[in-house]
């Protein structure tokens, strides 16, 4: 089976590949958003700690 045939997906390339691309894009987005949420929580905590220390 050659690559061109594989990519053509029996004529369904216009449907199969976008579907896969979309799903994997969303998965990547999920990873990114989760990391950002974690980092933000750490930042907020850092700020909270600094406020507490300077308030004392």
């Amino acid at each position: 089976m050659n690559i061109a045939e594989f990519l053509a997906m029996g004529g369904y390339a216009a449907y199969v590949w976008p579907a896969y691309a979309l799903v994997f894009a969303v998965l990547a987005l999920n990873v990114w958003a989760a990391r950002r949420s974690h980092e933000r929580a750490l930042e907020e905590a850092r700020r909270r700690l600094m406020q507490e220390e300077s308030g004392r």
Partner: protein, 242 residues
């Protein structure tokens, strides 16, 4: 066993354990998805009716199953959080919601893309599609309610009540939609016959991979949620210093 559980649920301990397990989860998820992709796109024979087009199945079905599994997880965690006032359980619910909403969106979008060549239209008011859409609305409502509170504790508890209401309603919604549709038009669902094993195992791999992916992303989010919910500063300082 119980003390072990309690220890795990304590924020510092959980934060550390989660940090250690995330790589394992990610690798396992990555390997399974890779195997599922190879099996699904290359090894599996084309469907005798749908040809190569059925391969959307391998991303569509895992997304759809996960969308419901995540909602169930979220609702159970929310109920545990309400009953035993467990912060970690509320954190699980809060961290699950966005992931579940994305899986639901994926299931809808891939279903729509699949529907175009097979049914000749992007959208059919079919029972399963419609209840998946309503599931998305439930997720959006949950996220909307959660984001409208400033106080994290109140947000946790109010949204937990909503998650429980939602899970009680889901079967009612599902069956009423099935009933509604079967009156108006015959079911357009493809009746899944016994699938040959060469078609099936990649799907199971993908499903397991997606589930582990959910686990990994959940843990990353959970670490953040645990930090947000932590008031006592001693261990926070420890985490932040390194």
């Amino acid at each position: 066993m119980w003390t072990w559980f309690h220890k795990l649920a304590s924020p510092p301990h959980f934060y550390r354990i989660a940090g250690l397990t995330i790589p394992a989860f990610s690798w396992a998820a990555g390997l399974l998805v890779a195997a599922g992709l190879y099996g699904g796109l290359v090894l599996a024979p084309p469907d005798y009716q749908q040809g190569e087009g059925f391969r959307i199945f391998y991303v569509h079905v895992p997304s759809a199953i996960l969308s419901m599994f995540v909602y169930a997880t979220m609702a159970i965690a929310a109920a545990i959080g309400l009953i035993w006032r467990m912060k970690l359980a509320h954190a699980v619910a809060a961290a699950s919601a966005p992931i579940g909403a994305w899986f639901t969106a994926c299931a809808l979008a891939t279903g729509s893309i699949w529907g175009k060549p097979m049914w000749g239209t992007w959208w059919v008011w079919d029972a399963r599609l419609t209840s998946e859409l309503i599931l998305l609305f439930l997720y959006l409502g949950y996220l909307g309610l959660r984001s409208s509170f400033d106080d994290l504790q109140r947000a946790d508890r109010a949204s937990a009540v909503l998650a429980v209401i939602g899970i009680v309603n889901l079967p009612v919604i599902h069956y009423s939609v099935v009933w509604w549709n079967s009156i108006h038009q015959g079911s357009t669902l493809l009746t899944p016959g016994a699938m040959p094993i060469a078609m099936k195992w990649p799907a199971l791999c993908m499903l397991a991979g997606f589930a582990l992916f959910y686990g990994a992303v959940l843990f990353v989010r959970l670490r953040g949620e645990v930090v947000r919910r932590e008031r006592s500063a001693a261990w926070l300082r420890e985490v932040l210093v390194k």
